[in-house]
Symmetry: C2
């Protein structure tokens, strides 16, 4: 089947594709605010209708929250599930937008054409790249190149409360050979990236109690143990002078990245100073001897995300507080078991407490890292397809954060995910004046057409 | 002159003395709340009138805030200045009082007769012990035993904003051979105590800035320096494992207490476990090898009174904060210069900062310790007088906190202060249901009569 004809059609149809995206962007599908619930439903309806126009057997499927959109089409070849989300972030603070967030337009931003609207990049613009690729393929070939399930969520920006139950209830219907997820970005401006490893997370909240009530430092200062003193000792011991985390067993079972992956990462010529400079930093703070990309993609971390105790108002209060608190999170990588580390952390803290000081722990999130099994052919096929479309060769990259849906697909449906997207660092997702480069939209559509051609 | 007759008169007059105290306690002289300004003035008027009845040349003296009461009487012998304060703390939370705080009465509390009212102990009951001793002396002998200046403040519970200017403007009038201050307590229930050393204070607020804005730990965790990590390292180094403060020069110039004073303190048989038990602690946290009384009276401290940074709300936010903060105070003893230590502390902190992290310091209070020169005869005379009145011999003790007026008397008027008072630990000063034992009031009056006899 001819890819060139499909690509030519995509080029010729770009204005209409943009108009269709604008229709979707005009729908105020803010999932976290109940005032917009009808708008969220409207976006779901619009997408189901659009999918039906492409020959999908598509439905809006109710959940306890906002609905899912599910559509099936094609047959033969591999079965892929495409995931995106049609809900968007709130628009506050509205006064910082220079135009109505739900009145999309093409603007010139520093000489680059951008689509300006809430959701342009996250994730309506991205999910439409796949639907437009399907549209062009269908128009040119009369049918899709393989069996495709489209699965669109309306609660991604509000914690995905219905996602796991929906996957569990509809596992047989949704299970495919592999998932395609379009909710990530390019590396830099021109290098397509397939995220094959995502860090996990362990969150612990700790409260140390010393005296049974707040004490006056004139009366008790010196003789009474201050829990802040103990907390700072414990937390100061989280890292050694080389940035190595000191919780016992923390690094057990973590594999080194392959030589092949290391070569790809080295090829990305990541500049720590260019990454850190814009946030006012100059030196890397992670483990000595590790590269910057390893620090954020393939090495685990320990960070104190919050600390508090005693008096923090204006002026001074010479209190010895009864309690001191901290919230500590660990970004985890493949090989680490969050529940084992939680236990190790608690034992390690307790072993350091002096008499009279007790620790109370509250466990928050605990999710393992995701490591894709890239041996499935589609990973390399996608990488080759993207490399043909963009100026630089595509790379398998890591992601310092979490994209929970990839973990659920693995855990509940037993399938790997190919995470590929075309966002840029300056897209201002979740912020005022969100944009999506018109070239991201255009080449994103062409990229998926190339991927479909390889699946055919 | 006969002391016995004065003591007998005091015993016989106790009911009337209590009635006079009740009159003063009924006046709602809360200095910090402007709604009570007329009541504060009324208390000043009441005291000036009472002093005139004792033969004092007494006046209510205006200040920029609440007035001072100053009265002069007697001649010959040493010149002593008596200090007390007639303002009281607010009464909130009122619902925790079991009776009207300004309707004084005698109650039975665990078999002990107590005067219940706001200000009963702090400081109206205490200051009236001296006035009643003068009253009995005058009644018995027709005149006071020596030259006495009474100086009563109405702003002690609201930071004494007018005290220093008033002392400076009226230095010649107020300067005496020695000050008597009645605003402290017994040691335990039965041991009279003269406070001869008070710790000073140095207060520092520190803000560490790492990245120029809050960062997401998914994107930056590992590679970016977290200022909380640096703050905990710095603060964890404030004490070594023996509780010794590590700021350079911190202990320079601090004298050991004399053998005589050590013997007195040993005689107080201070039980650390009895002191710490009620607040939920069992072990002393100060410098190894120091006694409990040394830790709270004669050794300096470093305490973190507040620490904060990042997210401290419900749930979790995986932020790497831009800033981390702490409030740190040092209780100082004789020999330490607060301004030198402030500089040492800042240099010490700065020397520990990694690249990309900067410290900003805000200096709050800085006041040296007070160490009385107890070689003046009146110190030993007062100690002997109190030892005769009470079951246990009086001791020269320290005070972990600060009583600023003693420092100002030394600094501005060049006179030492004899700090003697009769409060008990369970008087609930500053709290609901404040009380003053009737025996504290009675023996307090008798105590001052004995002191006056020695001054005669």
């Amino acid at each position: 089947m001819s890819l060139d004809a499909v690509l030519a059609r995509i080029d010729a149809d770009l204005d209409d594709a943009t108009s269709r995206l604008f229709e979707l962007l005009r729908i105020k599908s803010i999932s976290t605010d109940p005032a917009y619930t009808p708008e969220v439903a409207k976006a779901a309806d619009w997408l189901a209708e659009d999918l039906r126009g492409l020959g999908f057997d598509a439905e809006v499927r109710p959940t306890a929250g906002h609905p899912m959109v599910v559509g099936h089409a094609g047959d033969g070849g591999p079965h892929v599930l495409f995931y995106g989300h049609y809900d968007v972030q709130p628009v506050d603070p509205l006064e910082l937008w220079h135009r109505d967030p739900f009145d999309p337009t093409i603007e010139d931003q520093n000489g680059v054409k951008v689509i300006r609207a809430r959701g342009a990049a996250d994730d309506k613009g991205q999910l439409m790249t796949f639907l437009e690729a399907c549209r062009a393929w269908k128009a040119e070939h009369g049918s899709l190149p393989c069996r495709i399930t489209v699965f669109l969520e309306g609660e991604e920006e509000s914690g995905s409360p219905s996602l796991v139950p929906f996957l569990e209830e509809n596992a047989d219907e949704l299970r495919a050979d592999v998932a395609l997820i379009c909710d990530t970005g390019l590396f830099g401006d021109n290098t397509p990236a397939i995220v094959t490893q995502l860090r996990g997370m362990l969150q612990e909240e700790i409260t140390l109690t010393g005296p049974s009530l707040d004490l006056h430092s004139g009366m008790y200062g010196g003789i009474a143990m201050n829990p802040i003193r103990v907390l700072t000792k414990v937390l100061a011991g989280l890292h050694d002078e080389n940035g190595v985390v000191q919780v016992p067993g923390f690094y057990d079972g973590i594999p080194e990245i392959s030589d092949e992956l290391r070569a790809q990462w080295d090829g990305l010529s990541f500049e720590p100073s260019a990454f850190l400079g814009p946030v006012g930093l100059s030196e890397m703070a992670g483990e000595s001897g590790r590269s910057g990309l390893e620090m954020i993609w393939s090495r685990p971390t320990a960070e104190v995300n919050g600390i508090w105790g005693g008096y923090n108002g204006a002026g001074f209060k010479t209190v010895l507080p009864s309690k001191a608190h901290a919230k500590i999170s660990f970004r985890l990588v493949a090989g680490q078991d969050p529940l084992v580390l939680r236990e190790n952390f608690r034992v390690w803290v307790n072993a350091q407490l002096p008499p009279d000081v007790e620790a109370e722990f509250v466990g928050h999130g605990a999710s393992p890292a995701s490591q894709m099994d890239t041996s499935a052919a589609i990973f390399e096929q996608t990488r080759e397809a993207l490399s043909e479309e963009w100026p630089s060769a595509a790379a398998f990259v890591g992601c310092g954060g979490s994209i929970p849906v990839a973990g659920y697909f693995k855990e509940i449906l037993g399938m790997e995910s190919v995470l590929a997207g075309f966002g840029k660092d300056d897209d201002a997702i979740h912020s005022p004046n969100e944009k999506y480069d018109l070239s991201s939209f255009h080449h994103g559509i062409r990229s998926w057409a190339r991927v479909l051609a390889r699946l055919a």
